[in-house]
């Protein structure tokens, strides 16, 4: 009987191992997506504009004038302040939620996730409605109450910009720190207690040092986020008559465009982002010791006594500022005939929604474009990165690991910087993508490769290679084993990767803003241009639609994929 099986699998049909082909195609795609725009960006920074030869004149132009150097300082102040404030808000909240007996912890966590997925340009719009110097609700109420002509708050200021941005970056610190605190095994703290440390001493000598890498990592990500952000600064800083680096790059693209100067101006931004991420990785890599031995029991929550209500009030205030008031302001404006007219039934209407959905061609086209882009980008990124993560993890070929590194490089490329490279690469033959939504697709795909890669890699890691080997020994080809065993097992992981790309694609602004044309607009860009034109009711209606879609997708995903989705 033994001899029969040997002949069974062989010869009946020829199986081709598609591995090498997958690898070659992946390398080619990654090279085009990642290497090409960065190389072109670097080269164009040294190019004579519109001519031949190389020059340093672009750098002289970009950094030689005080008016262009100012934004560099502004960006540093802005990013540093946002980073620090995010830690000051996010870390204590994380401790309250992860380690104390504060009530309503699940609600706080859910609201923090909602803040996490709220685009800051919508927050900025809402705060213009709430705290604009003249027509802002807060100032109107203030004048009515005091009878003066003064202004209580002015969102058009560096302080306003920092506060509004922080309201949407602190969740990053919150989620990272909460995860680290939850992963800290209780026995580490108990060991300190037995050794004689009091509660405060345990906090300062064990709990905080163990969470420090996560907090520091959160600071750096918030810093980086503010540094490369375009939407909120454009909405709040430009009316306040100052620029940050991203808005300055955008002005270089206004008529007459100075693309080479923009490239020169963007290079330091790229280097800073890359440096920060390298440092952040090194810090997080050392975090390994907090997560090993995860079998230890969770620590008993710290009893706060009466202070738990103080803690809850603090969290409530932050979340009120972050989502409560802004959502209210947006909803109110979206439902108003004119947002300044106040509350009355006559002022209530749905026509803003009809207007943006059906009547106004640019918004209607933008909605279609955005949905199309988000779906296509998420699908392409998941398929591509699923293949790359698989090949890299199983080390099918020498050099497979290099693919993985290449796939995560865009993490260090600010969206607006990437766009300069893409603009130079695809605004002329042979690949004339500029003017179509395909150049925006390329930008999104490149930008979100790392997210897709990380998610695919993480879910593939849960599948023991033996599971696939078992299928191969029994006669399945490599592709067959992949299809029969691996794909069903990582299914939810792939869905998760898809959603993690789909969600940010819905609201991407900092790349799109340089790449859109009148024929290729997306929702975020339309929101920004409508904002510039002062059509705030339409902005609010579009924003509410965007938020509603986002929140529904997140809710469904958390139901389907468990609470861990989006909680890092």
């Amino acid at each position: 009987m033994a001899g029969r099986g040997a002949a069974g699998g062989a010869g009946r049909r020829r199986r081709v191992d598609a591995g090498p082909a997958v690898w070659l195609v992946s390398v080619a795609i990654l090279a085009v997506l990642v290497v090409a725009p960065l190389a072109i960006l670097a080269v164009s920074a040294f190019r004579v504009p519109g001519g031949r030869g190389f020059t340093l004149a672009n750098f002289v132009e970009a950094f030689g004038q005080a008016i262009y150097r100012g934004p560099v300082g502004n960006s540093l102040v802005y990013a540093t302040a946002v980073g620090l404030l995010s830690v000051l808000v996010g870390a204590p909240m994380a401790w309250l939620v992860a380690r104390t007996d504060m009530p309503a912890k699940a609600v706080v966590r859910t609201c923090a996730v909602a803040a996490f997925v709220t685009p800051s340009f919508l927050g900025a719009t809402a705060y213009v409605i709430l705290a604009g110097p003249n027509a802002g609700l807060v100032n109107i109420v203030y004048r009515a109450l005091t009878g003066t002509e003064g202004t209580l708050v002015n969102v058009f200021s560096m302080l306003g910009l920092v506060v509004v941005t922080t309201l949407y970056t602190f969740p990053m610190v919150f989620l990272m720190t909460a995860a680290a605190l939850a992963a800290t095994p209780a026995d580490l703290e108990e060991a300190a207690r037995i050794a004689g440390a009091g509660r405060l001493a345990v906090m300062s000598t064990v709990t905080l040092p163990l969470a420090a890498p996560a907090i520091l990592g959160g600071f750096m990500l918030s810093f980086l986020e503010a540094l490369v952000l375009f939407g909120a600064p454009a909405m709040l800083a430009i009316p306040a008559r100052f620029h940050v680096m991203t808005t300055q790059i955008w002005t270089f693209f206004q008529y007459p465009p100075q693309v080479e100067v923009a490239a020169a101006y963007a290079l330091p931004l790229l280097l800073v982002a890359a440096g920060l991420l390298a440092i952040q990785r090194r810090i997080l890599a050392r975090r390994g010791f907090t997560t090993v031995g995860g079998r230890a029991a969770a620590a008993a929550p710290v009893r706060l006594g009466g202070f738990r209500w103080v803690g809850l009030a603090g969290c409530g205030l932050v979340l009120l500022l972050s989502i409560g008031l802004p959502y209210f302001a947006l909803l109110r404006a979206a439902l108003a005939r004119a947002w300044g007219l106040g509350w009355s039934l006559e002022n209530l209407t749905l026509r803003n929604f009809r207007y943006v959905l059906f009547d106004f061609d640019p918004t209607r086209a933008a909605i279609v474009n955005t949905l199309e882009l988000a779906i296509v980008t998420a699908t392409a990124a998941t398929v591509l990165m699923g293949a790359v993560a698989y090949v890299a993890q199983r080390r099918l070929f020498p050099g497979a690991r290099a693919l993985a590194v290449l796939a995560t490089v865009p993490l260090a490329v600010p969206g607006i910087v990437l766009s300069i490279g893409l603009f130079k690469a695809y605004s002329r033959p042979p690949l004339l993508l500029y003017g179509t939504i395909w150049i925006i697709f390329v930008a999104y795909l490149t930008k979100y490769l790392p997210i897709a890669y990380t998610a695919c890699h993480a879910s593939l890691q849960t599948v023991h290679p033996d599971l696939e080997d078992a299928a191969r020994v029994l006669g399945a080809s490599r592709l067959g084993a992949f299809r029969d065993v691996t794909v069903p097992l990582v299914g939810t992981g792939l869905v998760s990767a898809w959603l993690l790309v789909f969600l940010p694609s819905l609201r991407e602004l900092s790349s799109s803003i340089l790449l859109y044309t009148t024929r290729s607009r997306v929702v975020s860009v339309v929101i920004y241009t409508l904002y510039e034109e002062g059509l705030w009711e339409a902005v609010a209606a579009l924003g509410i639609l965007l938020l509603a879609l986002t929140l529904v997708v997140v809710a469904v995903a958390q139901r389907l994929l468990g609470r861990r989705f989006l909680q890092i």
């Binding site: 009987m1 033994a2 001899g3 029969r4 099986g5 040997a6 002949a7 069974g8 699998g9 062989a10 009946r12 199986r15 191992d17 023991h464 033996d466 599971l467 080997d469 078992a470 299928a471 191969r472 020994v473 029994l474 006669g475 399945a476 080809s477 490599r478 067959g480 029969d484 065993v485 069903p488 097992l489």
Partner: protein, 362 residues
């Protein structure tokens, strides 16, 4: 009759030392051969070379007249007609027991109408009747291992490969499964290669054992061969407990150990006088008797009679584990003896070792 032949296999990972070097081995048709060795000895690499997951850097693998592996020409795992049992069980958690078991049939010329019968037979074989519709998550580790076994056997493989299949089971189940594997082998005589680091497992299940060390085979033989007639000190030490006494060949059958201790040893390799060798003496072949702490050296009182003092005595219930310091030298012997007569620490004893059970090894 298909003999599995591994000829001069070498496999290197990266620039490091070879995981398997110049390994030559024959697995006879229908036998169960164990690859036994400590971790890192290359046994799992050898198995993965056999399965076709790895390609040798040099050397070839033949199954009868068919060449399975050679550098650049390796038949992929799916075309070898083999089955494999994994340390992690590798039972697919998204498929039912039935779907797991019949998976391999679709790649073989088995008509679908026959699947149900084969499934039933395979489940009966591993005593899992009635579990066909369960998911692996609902089964215990031992049951999952049986599913893996059924999945491996249902395709009637030419070769069965077992990669430490029992190491994730608890001690009790492990012992039961050893006999189970032997029972199935006696029933079907599938040519089997069994990788393990557990000498007890290898002794129970194997027709022959290949002891591996540093990527090469140190000795191949029946369980009795490798236990009673180990070729090297490593094999003697790895399989069962033993006393290893370094010395020099004095004359044929006579070894001089430390402290001019003369030991007569029957079995062993041909070693020239003066050559350094080691004598392996199993603890249970040493006999103790009350007596004077020192014996006159030499064969005056008969071969291999020594004097000594008990330095440690541990009670194991069915046996005693003694440590005895041999008089006139630094040699300490471990002795396994029945609980009666009992010796106490410090008591002088007479030691007698049967020369036929002193084995000279290299």
């Amino acid at each position: 009759m298909a003999t599995l032949r591994l000829a001069g296999l070498t496999k290197r990972f990266g620039e490091g030392v070879a995981a398997v070097r110049d390994l030559t081995l024959e697995v006879r048709h229908g036998e169960l051969l164990s690859l036994l060795g400590p971790s890192g000895c290359g046994k799992t690499t050898t198995l993965r070379l056999l399965a076709g997951f790895l390609e040798p850097d040099t050397g070839e693998i033949w199954l009868g007249e068919r060449r399975l592996s050679a550098p650049g020409r390796t038949v992929p795992p799916e075309r070898r007609g083999m089955s494999m049992l994994f340390q992690s069980y590798a039972v697919w958690p998204h498929k039912t027991v039935a779907d797991n078991v019949v998976y391999g049939l679709r790649f073989r010329d088995v008509p679908r109408s026959d699947w149900a019968r084969r499934l039933k037979a395979a489940l009966a074989l591993v005593r899992l009747e009635g579990f066909a519709d369960r998911y692996p998550g609902e089964l215990s580790g031992g049951q999952q291992q049986r599913v893996a076994l059924a999945r491996a056997l249902v395709v009637e493989p030419a070769i069965l490969l077992l990669d430490e299949p029992l190491s994730n089971l608890d001690a009790h189940l492990r012992e039961e499964m050893r006999f189970e594997i032997r029972r199935l082998h006696d029933a079907f005589h599938i040519t089997t290669v069994y990788v393990t680091h557990d000498q007890g497992e290898a002794m129970v299940t194997s027709d022959r054992i290949a002891v591996m060390r540093g990527g090469a085979v140190e000795q191949v033989g029946t369980p009795e061969d490798v236990f009673e007639r180990p070729a090297t000190a490593f094999v003697a030490g790895f399989i069962g407990r033993t006393n290893l006494l370094p010395g020099r060949m004095a004359a044929p059958g006579l070894v001089t150990c430390a402290g001019d201790l003369q030991l007569r040893a029957a079995a062993g390799p041909d070693a020239r006088p003066g050559e350094p060798v080691t004598v392996s003496i199993r603890p249970h072949v040493i006999a103790l008797a009350p007596g004077p702490a020192s014996e006159p050296p030499g064969d005056a009182a008969g071969p291999n009679r020594l004097g000594g003092t008990v330095t440690r005595a541990i009670y194991f219930g069915d046996a005693m584990d003694y440590q005895v310091a041999v008089a006139g030298g630094d040699i300490v012997l471990r002795v396994a003896a029945p609980p009666e007569p009992r010796f106490t620490v410090g008591q002088p004893v007479a030691i007698r070792i049967d020369p036929r059970r002193c084995v000279v090894v290299r």
